[in-house]
Structures are given as structure tokens and as C-alpha cells.
Symmetry: C2
Subunit: 231 residues, 2 copies
């Protein structure tokens, strides 16, 4: 029974992870209870709880009341991706940011998903540039019912991307990443060949039950999202 001296939740986190990696606790194994671990590590239960909870959030452990805590059978790589405002993304790269509104259609009827929410939408197309070169094409629909203030907003200087994120809240959203071939008009706008592989982010955001906005972001060829995974 080798008690550890440092009783921080981080040290317990590390030790539990070490045992999992060392296969002392193989996948599927039910590990000792929080109380058992408090005895072993000589600390309070809240400390063990925080370590195990964090590991559960990371997908390493699975916890169920009464049953206990076990090592996850199906390891996943859990990556967190930050999607910033495009202007900031460009400026972080050290490039000058440019923005151009391509089209603005104020009274579009959009069928939102499976016809459940349709109504008046404002449709915008805009190009964001980095260092003078096309960076991403924004294809945007804004619900005028949920966001009435978008009706009179001027998007010729500030992008809908930036205005919405800094002014209009949302509770949740669906997001998807995919690879698409550039259409003829997209290729022309982005300055690439028709059919060039483009990285696409599509996002639907909601405020409770109300649709807020839908957007498709088509990034110029060469774009990639980078992030780190841990544990």
C-alpha cells in the first residue's frame, strides 16, 4: 500500500491514467470505488471525484451510479475544435483581413430541415480574404422571425459571421465538416479550378426551439483545421 504524498486531483488523474495505460486496469475493468481510492490516496472524496469525472469527460472512463466506474471499452479520440470569428482567424495568421458582400436577398423562403421551420430568411453571400487572396466563401441564411434586428442591419462593412457571433446568442447548434468539389461559380469566386476540393463547414444554430441562422463556409483550397488531443 504505497500512499502518494501529493494529493491534488491532477496527480490522481495522472496515476489513474497510468494504471489504465499500463493495463493494470484493462478496458472494461471496473476500478475501485471513490471511497476505496480516497483510502489509498489519503485524500477527500471530492478530490478523487474530480479526477475521475474529468477522465470520464475525456472519454477514458464510464461512470454509472451504483454500478461504479469502469475503463471505457471503446476508446475514442476526443478533439475539441475552436471555430473563431473569421476576421480573427485571419488576423491570427498575421494576414490582412478583407471582406466583400457579394449578394443580399432579404426575402427568401427557406425550407429549414424537414419543413418544420420555414419562414422568412435573409440570404447573404460574402467573401472573406486573407492577405488579398480569397479565404472563405460565406453562404448565410438568417431567420428574420428569430432575429428581427437582422432585417435592417447593414452587412456591407461587417460580416454576418461577426455580427451574429457578437450580438445574437444561441443555445445550441449542429455542425458538420466535409469535403466538397467547387462548383463553377464558387471556383470563380474563390479563384480556384472547378471541382477543386474545398473544406466545408456547415452550421445550424438555435435559440431554444427557434432557428437562428444557417451557414455554409467554403474554404479556399489548402485550408485545414488543426487541434490537439490529450489522454
Amino acid at each position: 500500500m504505497n500512499k502518494l504524498q501529493t494529493n491534488t486531483w491532477q496527480s490522481i488523474y495522472d496515476e489513474v491514467l497510468r494504471r489504465i495505460h499500463a493495463r493494470e486496469w484493462p478496458p472494461g475493468q471496473v476500478i475501485p470505488t471513490e471511497v476505496d481510492l480516497t483510502v489509498e490516496f489519503g485524500c477527500a472524496r471530492a478530490t478523487v471525484n474530480r479526477a475521475l469525472q474529468t477522465l470520464a469527460d475525456a472519454g477514458v472512463l464510464e461512470r454509472r451510479r451504483k454500478f461504479g466506474t469502469r475503463v471505457a471499452l471503446h476508446p475514442v479520440s476526443r478533439a475539441t475544435v475552436d471555430i473563431p470569428i473569421i476576421r480573427q482567424e485571419v488576423e491570427t495568421l498575421g494576414e490582412s483581413y478583407g471582406y466583400e458582400l457579394l449578394s443580399d436577398d432579404k426575402t427568401i423562403n427557406l425550407h429549414w430541415q424537414n419543413d418544420t421551420h420555414n419562414g422568412q430568411f435573409r440570404h447573404l453571400r460574402a467573401l472573406h480574404c486573407a492577405g488579398g487572396a480569397p479565404y472563405v466563401l460565406e453562404n448565410r441564411w438568417i431567420s428574420l422571425e428569430t432575429v428581427p434586428s437582422a432585417k435592417d442591419q447593414d452587412f456591407s462593412d461587417q460580416s454576418a459571421n461577426e455580427w451574429l457571433l457578437t450580438h445574437i446568442p444561441y443555445t445550441h447548434g449542429d455542425i458538420s465538416f466535409s469535403a466538397l468539389g467547387a462548383s463553377g461559380s464558387d471556383a470563380k469566386t474563390l479563384g480556384c479550378n472547378t471541382g477543386s476540393p474545398l473544406f466545408s463547414i456547415e452550421r445550424l444554430t438555435w435559440d431554444h426551439d427557434q432557428p437562428v441562422t444557417a451557414v455554409q463556409l467554403l474554404y479556399a483550397p489548402g485550408y485545414e483545421i488543426r487541434t490537439r488531443i490529450g489522454a
Copy 2:
């Protein structure tokens, strides 16, 4: 001073988020200290702490010792993406899973990043299928120094993807998502046209300072990653 009755960290989380959304606490604003909030909500500091900490993890708040807590100036959409074992990904779709090892080269010298880590690697190419159709092409390098047991492992029945994730631990990794055009040979393997837009995931994993494995996953056309964002 309207005190709330329900003093769970979730309710405080919701209330703080509501005030941010309602612009009672606009971006950049320093919000009351934890102690002030404990007085207002009539609860323990640990409860407020958990609510604010969770919001900080979500990117909504920024916290600094002594300075206090303020509403994030630069809102980001923070998405967590789970990347499972490919076999499970296919089976979750309700499709039958197929696997074929295409090539296996046991003594490759790979220049790992900027020449800092090079050495003996095993190089594998394999095709994962869903419902008989090509699903993803796996291009894999495994460090034989860090993972000596990979030298004699048979990858003709079980993919390196699955074997590594279930047997070899790692401490951290870099991951990137991008869109690439299919090369001639890739197109032939995946059953698509040359130049078709392919979703690509590239991953480098490390065990402390030792490189473990590098992989490029080229998904057949039509693939997309879906996830949700909250807050």
C-alpha cells in the same frame, strides 16, 4: 435582490449564461466575484466555482486570479469531435464492416516532422469498407522503437487503427482535418474519380516524447463529421 431557490451549479450556470445572452453582462465585462455571487444566490462558493469554471471551459468566460472573471470578448464555437475506431464507426451506421490490408512495409525510414525523430517505421496501407463499398483508406506509420510489439503483429485480420487504439496508449497528439483531391491510385482504391474531393484526417500521436504513430485517413466522397455545439 431576488435570490434563487434552486442552488445547483447547473441553475447558476444557466442564470449566468442568461445574463450574458441578455447583455446584462456584455462581452468584456468583469462579472461579480465568486463571493458576491454566493451571497446573491445563497449557496457555497464551490457551487459558484463549478458553474463559472464550466462556462470558462466552454469558452464563454475568461478567468484570471486576482483580476476576476469576465465575459469572453472573442466568442468561439467550441465543438468536441469524437473520432472512434473505424470498425465501430461503420457498425454504428448499421453497415457491415470489411477490412483489407493493401500493403505492409516493415522497414521504412521516415522523416518525422523536422528530422528530430526519424528511425524505423512500419508502413501499412489498408482499406476499410462499409456495406461492401470502400469507406476509408488508412495510410499508417508505426514507430518500431516506441512500439516494438508492432514488429510481429499481424495486421491482415485486425486493422492497425483498432489494434493501436485498444493496445497502445498515448499521452497526446496533433490532429488535422482537411479536404484533398484524390490521387490516381487513391481514386482507384476508393472507387471514385481522380481529383474527387476527399475528407482527410491526419493524426500524429505521442507517448510523452516518443512518437507512436502517424496516420492519414482518406474518406470516400460524401463523408462528413457531425457534432453539436452548446452554449
